[in-house]
Symmetry: C2
Subunit: 455 residues, 2 copies
């Protein structure tokens, strides 16, 4: 069987009865993504996309930025951009991609339009994770290292698979949807630190809805798109990638939402900064060290981390999220890396600015140059040199929120409420959370979506 057929068959025919762990993970992913969408409402990228698309609004899905009803592809594009705008949304580590920020807005918008149930959304979400994880197994990390932004390259076909599942397409239809969506796979990591990065999640979410909707109407597309000359493999591949036979094997394994699972982010910044932040917070707390006592911070990281964190002197919020200097300044000086630490105000904080030059990043020669995805080989060693010459050192392998160090339900609830601060009143926040928690039993998702909108 070719991988296109295998993915399409899985999309159309996988059992709708998922293990409890997967159902729970899917629900947590929806809650986390909605939290990020709410918090992202005021982000400049999300507002720009919304303001542009609002000119063309017409439809039944909710744009959570403008709060208007609009076409499902537009709502998905806006809401996914908002969900990813603060870089606070979950990660599928095998894909080195943001996952739910693409899938959840696409599925919720399509569900609103087609009156699908909450259970159908959760089921389709599990499919999207499976497809992204299988594709990632074939191409990563060589594909990601070459510069492709996997949130879009793998996000588009995976979102299309989820949308195809939601629409009930058969194997042939799902194959057309997935093939069609690869024509939206694009996006360079050079966009990191610009508003195009979150917009890539928006493009992928729109692609998912368009591709599945076109496929539903019968649009034909290449039946085998992943393997051989001119294929995805040829165009998007890179030396050292495992290849698509691995993807087919991976599809037979446990659901991706169970293994490796989604990494729910504890900090609203690039995932590459999370291990360093955790290491800093750990050393600060365990030793009682104050920021003023730190003379120098040496961080030993992988090539991937080194390339992602490209802004030594960040000029805006987006660059701040891709600045190791700023992330560690916040962790050292404030003991946090929260939403409030990535505002323009925080970037102008003299205490943090004074700390930036103390941070040094080095390549750790012990980390393999070609990291195996989610293998536990990724890590960060951080060494503080204190006034007087004393040093402190700590290594983090699995950061807070990683599937191997999962966020508790209480912490997820706290994150949700933190994200809703300033957008929803406290009582409305509780109602919004209750609405999302009851999603598995909701006949349609409208009410849950509307509870996310401030009255």
């Amino acid at each position: 069987m070719t991988i296109t057929t295998a993915l399409a068959r899985h999309t159309a025919e996988a059992s709708r009865i998922w293990p409890a762990e997967v159902q729970q993970s899917a629900l947590r992913a929806v809650i986390d993504t909605c939290a990020c969408m709410i918090a992202g409402r005021n982000d400049a990228a999300a507002r720009t996309i919304s303001a542009t698309l609002s000119r063309w609004q017409s439809g039944t899905a909710v744009d959570l930025v403008s709060l208007e009803h609009t076409a499902a592809p537009w709502a998905a594009m806006v809401n996914a951009t908002a969900a990813h705008a603060l870089d606070y949304d979950d990660v599928l580590e095998t894909a080195a991609a943001h996952a739910s920020a693409v899938f959840v807005p696409a599925l919720l918008a399509l569900a609103q339009e087609r009156k699908a149930s909450g259970a159908q959304v959760l089921d389709a979400l599990a499919i999207s994770f499976d497809v992204m994880n299988a594709l990632a197994a074939a191409v990563n990390y060589p594909h990601y290292s070459r510069g492709w932004h996997t949130t879009l390259t793998l996000g588009a076909p995976a979102a299309a698979a989820g949308c195809a599942r939601l629409l009930g397409l058969d194997t042939a239809g799902a194959a057309r949807a997935i093939s069609t969506a690869t024509s939206f796979s694009s996006g360079s990591k050079l966009q990191f630190g610009t508003q195009m990065k979150p917009t890539h999640a928006g493009i992928a979410a729109q692609a998912g809805i368009l591709a599945a909707s076109f496929a539903e109407q019968g649009l034909t597309a290449a039946p085998e798109i992943f393997e051989g000359p001119w294929s995805f493999e040829t165009l998007f591949g890179a030396e050292g990638m495992p290849g698509f036979r691995v993807a087919e094997e991976r599809l037979k394994g446990p659901p991706a939402l169970a293994e490796p699972g989604a990494w729910i982010k504890a900090y609203p910044c690039c995932a590459s900064a999370h291990r360093p932040i955790d290491a800093m917070l750990h050393l600060r707390q365990s030793s009682g060290t104050a920021a003023r006592d730190i003379e120098r911070v040496d961080t030993y990281v992988s090539t991937v981390v080194q390339k992602n964190l490209m802004y030594e002197v960040p000029r805006d919020e987006m660059e701040g999220r891709f600045s190791l200097n700023h992330c560690l300044a916040a962790a050292a000086c404030r003991g946090s890396a929260d939403l409030a630490d990535f505002t323009l105000e925080s970037l102008a904080d003299p205490e943090l600015i004074a700390f930036w030059p103390k941070v040094f990043m080095h390549l750790d020669p012990e980390i393999p140059a070609n990291l195996a995805p989610a293998s536990g080989e990724e890590r960060c060693r951080l060494r503080l040199t204190l006034t007087g010459g004393r040093t402190l050192e700590h290594t983090v392998v699995f950061p807070s929120g990683h599937p191997q160090a999962p966020m508790s339900d209480a912490d997820l609830e706290r994150k949700f409420k933190d994200c809703a601060t300033g957008v929803l009143a406290p009582a409305a926040t509780d109602a919004a959370l209750d609405g999302l928690l009851s999603l598995p039993h909701a006949n349609d998702v409208d009410a849950a979506l509307k509870a996310l909108v401030p009255s």
Copy 2:
């Protein structure tokens, strides 16, 4: 200067006074593309895209398939798909791409929305050609040979440049538009022969409007997207490509609409089949040979042609357009390769089917493996073996409609009328053509567009 800046500066600052030859070429390109759009209205791909998007319609631009007013990005997507559906629309040979099918629908839809004049559309069209041609000079043909469908990969940023010009963006804004549009650059040539091929033109047209509109609203994007690690060059390049310094040089040369100029297609099928068709028509006419006297057709072509014409036994209209066997059967048996020769009915014609197995395709070892774009190195040698063993041979370098063998104004008018047959009444066809001819002096393009809609 980097190429992103050079392209953006050209987009924002190039003189609005074009040589008469360029103005004339731009107008011919609009007329030709509108002809293709009208003829493409009934194509299955165009109807599917239109039916899907009509669910979300809202706006002021005309969808020429549904004939409804809709959002400019949707109208652009539908109309570009229709324009390219029959593979009858023009080609920029340096790019190995369809050009006006992407640019004209995007610019007309945006012009309708923003009340831009006909002259502004023609000016912006010249810019889109320049940008596509400069990018093509940098990457082709190695980029195309790898499997990228340049109509989308180069079409999206070039359409964005034209839309940015139409919106009057400054250099920084045009740079953001072009950078943003590269995140839509995708699409494999494996989609040739499927409905996704014309849809690629639709995606590129939509991308042009979205990217320029986002840029107008201020969305930030990587300021240098074409050169260096993680760039367009790294992601979309291929061994042997000239590189982006060549693109910058090319921008300083004559306008692309003057040199190399647009290739207005004489036949509604893959450009790779045009030289063989011309050779067959020439031999048939000059020798008076009837199809029944032909025992065997040997065609000697380039690698590019060999790979593009992949259907020996075409099953539908789209495959027929990528079938050398079918194209030469029509030329031999009917003396034509017209719209009527690529219907399901024609594909079921026993005379044509009987001719298919007589056609053989060979690689011509004298054509360079890495063809230089639009260098005149591309050619087709065709040999007929007649009953009794007599052979006839002819070689075509520049096919009918090619800038080196241009279509006359009278032939273009004939093509327009042929395309409108069955869609517009004869009087309405004349009026539509008059409307388009007066575009250089039209204050807004609405009237010209509405004249394309059957009453």
